[in-house]
């Protein structure tokens, strides 16, 4: 389901109360003008899956942290912050994968072309 950015925490809390107890994965897709953040949820009780899609602004991407609801979001949010430079509101993000990265380019965004910063090094 596609929801507004503001409704994210409320929706996930509601889903967790309705049995969706596992957050399997968080990932994002850069669509040039906006970024889609995708949450894959699963219920171990009823064996149902749910996909929650949130659109965030491409120029100044921000999203709320969901670690209070699902602890498994911890490392996925750290990865998002690095790979897409999405600001995770409510968390002090530590680097996870790329400790030496410059922090200006977002590796998985579409405006970063593979190998384009090779000459600068």
């Amino acid at each position: 389901m596609e929801i507004q950015k503001e409704a994210l925490l409320k929706t996930l809390r509601g889903l967790k109360e309705n049995g969706y107890d596992t957050l399997k994965y968080i990932t994002a897709v850069d669509k040039n003008s906006y970024i889609e953040v995708v949450y894959l949820l699963y219920s171990t009780l009823s064996n149902n899956s749910e996909v929650v899609v949130v659109e965030v602004d491409g120029k100044k991407p921000e999203i709320d942290t969901v670690t209070e609801i699902y602890h498994s979001a911890d490392w996925y949010e750290r990865e998002l912050a690095e790979m897409f430079l999405i600001r995770i509101k409510g968390r002090n993000i530590k680097r996870l994968l790329l400790e030496e990265w410059n922090g200006v380019l977002a590796p998985l965004r579409k405006d970063y072309v593979w190998g384009s910063d090779y000459k600068k090094r």
């Binding site: 399997k24 897709v29 100044k60 699902y70 400790e99």
Partner: protein, 387 residues
């Protein structure tokens, strides 16, 4: 474009902090990046008070190749060799997960014989992967070499079988859209039956070797206990979550190929300690042998060859594809937003990634030596975590 530079840098180097009212200072120890017990390039920063661990922080990313970005620049079938290098202990499983995603995106049905053949090879791959884990895990615990040699002896035979079928020893690149690369060898069924008998015979010797060994038992029983609720909340998958009492296996819950035709059990334990994680993996090997025998019984002998690789392949539809598989290490997911001939965005969910993120919770207030019992029992492959 303005990006926010908000990421905090991690401080490097060992340092010692002193508590005022304590004789024993808290010491920070670096384990790795290159360490014989980490199975890959993993750095763990451990704060110890005496011999008791107070805080553990895994640092990953030393093997980061940017596979997801790289795959966006290649055609669908050009990506097969990349995806195999994610998990060098079970390359075929990732191969299968990726090819299933592309088959879904393109809309191709897999030939029936090929589906059965894939199931057999995947289960042999699972056994080979668990054997590699068992040998190295027991080695780490100080029961040197006997178990290691036994496990690798059986793994070598399994890999020889897969080599005869696919043509290469480690990285098979054996799957094509809708089937396999080449016909199965004429003696495929006989050899597979023989190998299943051999493996069952040899594997049944393992519990006597391990469970009557007090070193192994004391270093795994009640070490690194993960409770059921925590396992679900922290997102653990695969044998780790099944050892904590959650009956979740993609082969049963969201069945693919012909797994719903086959009778097999999901091994589930309740304590969630290192011993249970060993036990779950051991019983899974026996279940895999059961699956292989049943599949061989009902497998037809028809053409199993898939589409040949061409420069321009069949175009993909534009809908997002999500596919899941039970990899040897847990639940692997590929999320793909397809373009016509190559992925627009492909996200790879590694089961090891989330299992390693539990390490700081498991390794709290334990003795330092037990850290490797816990890390080993999580069965992480760093190439897959860093991507």
């Amino acid at each position: 474009m303005e990006y926010l530079h908000h990421l905090e840098r991690i401080t490097y180097g060992a340092r010692i902090t002193k508590k005022d009212d304590d004789l024993m200072p808290i010491m920070r120890i670096n384990v790795g990046p290159i360490h014989p017990s980490t199975h890959g390039v993993l750095r763990i920063v451990v704060d110890v008070d005496g011999d008791t661990i107070k805080r553990v922080e895994p640092h990953i990313g030393f093997l980061h190749r940017g596979v997801e970005k790289l795959m966006e620049t290649r055609m669908y079938m050009q990506n097969l060799p990349y995806i195999e290098k994610l998990d060098y202990a079970a390359p075929l499983s990732w191969d299968d997960l990726y090819i299933a995603t592309v088959e879904k995106a393109v809309g191709i049905e897999v030939k029936e014989t090929a589906q059965y053949a894939r199931m057999i090879m995947l289960e042999f791959q699972r056994i080979a992967s668990h054997l590699l884990w068992l040998g190295t895990f027991v080695n780490d615990l100080g029961q040197m070499f006997t178990m290691f040699m036994w496990a690798f002896r059986e793994r070598a035979v399994t890999m020889k079988f897969l080599e005869d079928v696919t043509g290469s020893r480690m990285f098979y690149v054996n799957l094509r859209l809708g089937g396999l690369v080449r016909e199965l060898p004429a003696n495929f069924k006989d050899e597979a039956y023989k190998l299943a008998d051999y493996l069952e015979d040899k594997i049944s010797e393992y519990p006597d070797m391990l469970e009557k060994n007090s070193i192994f038992m004391e270093r795994t029983k009640n070490i690194g206990i993960l409770k059921k609720d925590d396992a679900i909340n922290y997102g653990a998958t695969g044998p780790v979550v099944r050892a904590s009492g959650v009956e979740y296996d993609v082969r049963k819950n969201l069945p693919y190929y012909f797994y719903n035709k086959i009778k097999f059990n999901i091994p589930v334990k309740i304590n969630g300690d290192s011993y249970d994680r060993y036990r779950v993996r051991y019983e899974e090997m026996r279940e895999s042998i059961k699956i292989i025998r049943q599949v061989l019984d009902i497998m037809p002998e028809e053409n199993a060859i898939g589409l040949p690789i061409k420069l321009i392949g069949p175009p993909a539809k534009s809908e997002v594809v999500i596919s899941e598989r039970e990899l040897p290490r847990g639940n692997g997911i590929v999320y793909m937003a397809p373009d016509k001939q190559k992925p627009y965005r492909i996200a790879l969910k590694s089961p090891c990634f989330i299992n390693l993120s539990i390490l700081p919770i498991l390794a709290k207030d334990i003795k330092f030596a037990d850290l490797f019992s816990i890390l080993g029992s999580l069965d992480v492959v760093m190439a897959e975590i860093d991507r």
